[in-house]
Symmetry: C2
Subunit: 354 residues, 2 copies
Amino acid sequence: MASTRRPGTADQPRAGASPERPRPTSRDVARHASVSQATVSLVLGGKWQGRVSPRTAETVRASARALGYRPNLAARSLRLGRTRTALLVVPALTHDYFARVHAGASRVAAEHDFGVVLYPSPEGTGPAVDPFGSARAALDGVIASSMAPEALAALREGGLPLVMLDTDPAGDRAAATVNLDIADGMRQAAGHLLGLGHRRLAHLAADVDTWTFGVRARALTQTVAGTAGAAVRTESSDLSVEAALHAATRALTAEPRPTAVICDDDLLAAGACKAARRLGLRVPEDVSVTGFDDLSLATALEPELTTVRLPAEEVGAAGMRALLDVLAGRAASTPVLAVQLVQRGSTAEPPARS
Amino acid sequence: MASTRRPGTADQPRAGASPERPRPTSRDVARHASVSQATVSLVLGGKWQGRVSPRTAETVRASARALGYRPNLAARSLRLGRTRTALLVVPALTHDYFARVHAGASRVAAEHDFGVVLYPSPEGTGPAVDPFGSARAALDGVIASSMAPEALAALREGGLPLVMLDTDPAGDRAAATVNLDIADGMRQAAGHLLGLGHRRLAHLAADVDTWTFGVRARALTQTVAGTAGAAVRTESSDLSVEAALHAATRALTAEPRPTAVICDDDLLAAGACKAARRLGLRVPEDVSVTGFDDLSLATALEPELTTVRLPAEEVGAAGMRALLDVLAGRAASTPVLAVQLVQRGSTAEPPARS
DNA sequence: GCTGTCACGTTGTACGTATAACCAACGCCG
DNA sequence: CGGCGTTGGTTATACGTACAACGTGACAGC
């Protein structure tokens, strides 16, 4: 009769404050309440209606409270085969947009007693790391935002329900998608500038190969093409203020000088504003600047950025809701969320002499 | 003989793309390789030296690859009694500092095959929600940043090793702490302004009751007290640009007008810059502004903020390293990290007439 | 009195993994 | 040739939970 020792208890005397009292299990609670472990599980699981007397149920709950019982989630996951945990794959939380997406997803998850774990999708490196291994948890599903196409394969590999955010709605189908009407946003921004009288536009484009930025470029080109006499030149930039500063400087020293810079992201717009000011140009009197995303940065600048507000929180929330739908076998809603141009101080009519 | 059915397999036909092939287990791999499950576990666990022939080991690995085997993390956690997962408690990821702390912690965690799950500590609500339940994972330890004292109790309750970040090093002891030399940072910032000749300072203080902001206030007061003729007035503000705008407006319309505004956070400094400009004051010619934290925001502004750089990534990294030390029974390093004033464009000598 | 029928629990698994303990050959030496 | 170490595995648990199936008295109906 082989007897296995309980691992990790006495072998390594985990240094810590408390004497490391072993956590009580449902069996301990059962003993304390003088019932069987099954009864504890029934009561605490809330499925005791008509199977356990209210009196006994209360006793069990009291014992659980007294012992400070917390169910072992690993054991529960193993037994149930699901974990109530989703993986959220985003490029970087230091970008405000994704932090908000995460916040929205977490909020909805919490409302449904779900958890969210993050996987920061590696950027240049490709999916060398295994998302399912590095998320040290068994997962029920995956929500992925702004994925480069090649990184998708690694996510599919897990065979888990996959919800895609900010992706081509007509593309290879995930279990569900949540989209923003990015094209409309860019049309609004470009239309705003054209309406103010701008004809020479510069497009500060993010040098990132995801669907959302492709849409921005195409929508801008189309909108400008629809206005006689209007033209747009594009400068590409990495998605950082520093890089945008250089790209915008190039754009603003071109001849003839554009009267407006339309940016793929508020970060880029911030760079454009810096560039303008360093060139002695006032925003918006000499040059108008528009952003995209409406990050918190947009209102930290002076003047505040005219930008396209993306409902980032709602994107995350809708993504989580869609995943929950899929997991429950319900038809998943796959919304396309509206975006809205927010007019602030960084845009105005072009200078008269222009 | 009671036979239990495998739960969650056929009952609910989880809608999804693939036919939901049941994930292969180590036993499936064993069958495929014509060995026992134990052998599979040994080989894949890497402890087969001298217990399994290289030939067999290779066969097992090949089978695992062929079947696309991935270990069930819930089962592993249950068996091992630990999960290689830490809980990171931070106020809000939308603040760049905490996003960076998370990034640092995640990086170190990944290097040690550890996971990080987030618990966004509720702000006003208090710890009504249970951090251990809402992190849908069994946990090995907790890293908490900038906790309000009353929220700590809920974290201790779990009985897990606790590493505290940005807290009073002399306070109630966690298993380990990681600290920043905040006082020195504030001394550097104040000294910089005093050295430039500023004597009338305004302190834009964050209205948040955590250790770090208390230290900032005290260090500033002390430094100013050490310089003859210098004085500081304090305005409190919520930790947002909008609130700072109002508070800074109050500060800058006081008589006599301060020549410098020293802010507890870059967000507040951004608000101060906005306020100054709206009052027709130039930064830094008419009024100097300093920030704190060196968020990405600091260089997005024009002029760029003179601010105190906090090694946020390193804080998160050191926190995770400390936790790993504690878990391994090693002596935990409890560093106090140095901070550094970064001089940029938002500070200059006070105007001559002053 | 015998049989249903509840009401209230209990017993017995099984989820997938890691590992202690055991065991069969085989070679080797005295 | 018997004993013993070595090599290369196998067998048998146990982790803590959820739930299917199985009692077991009590009480009612006929």
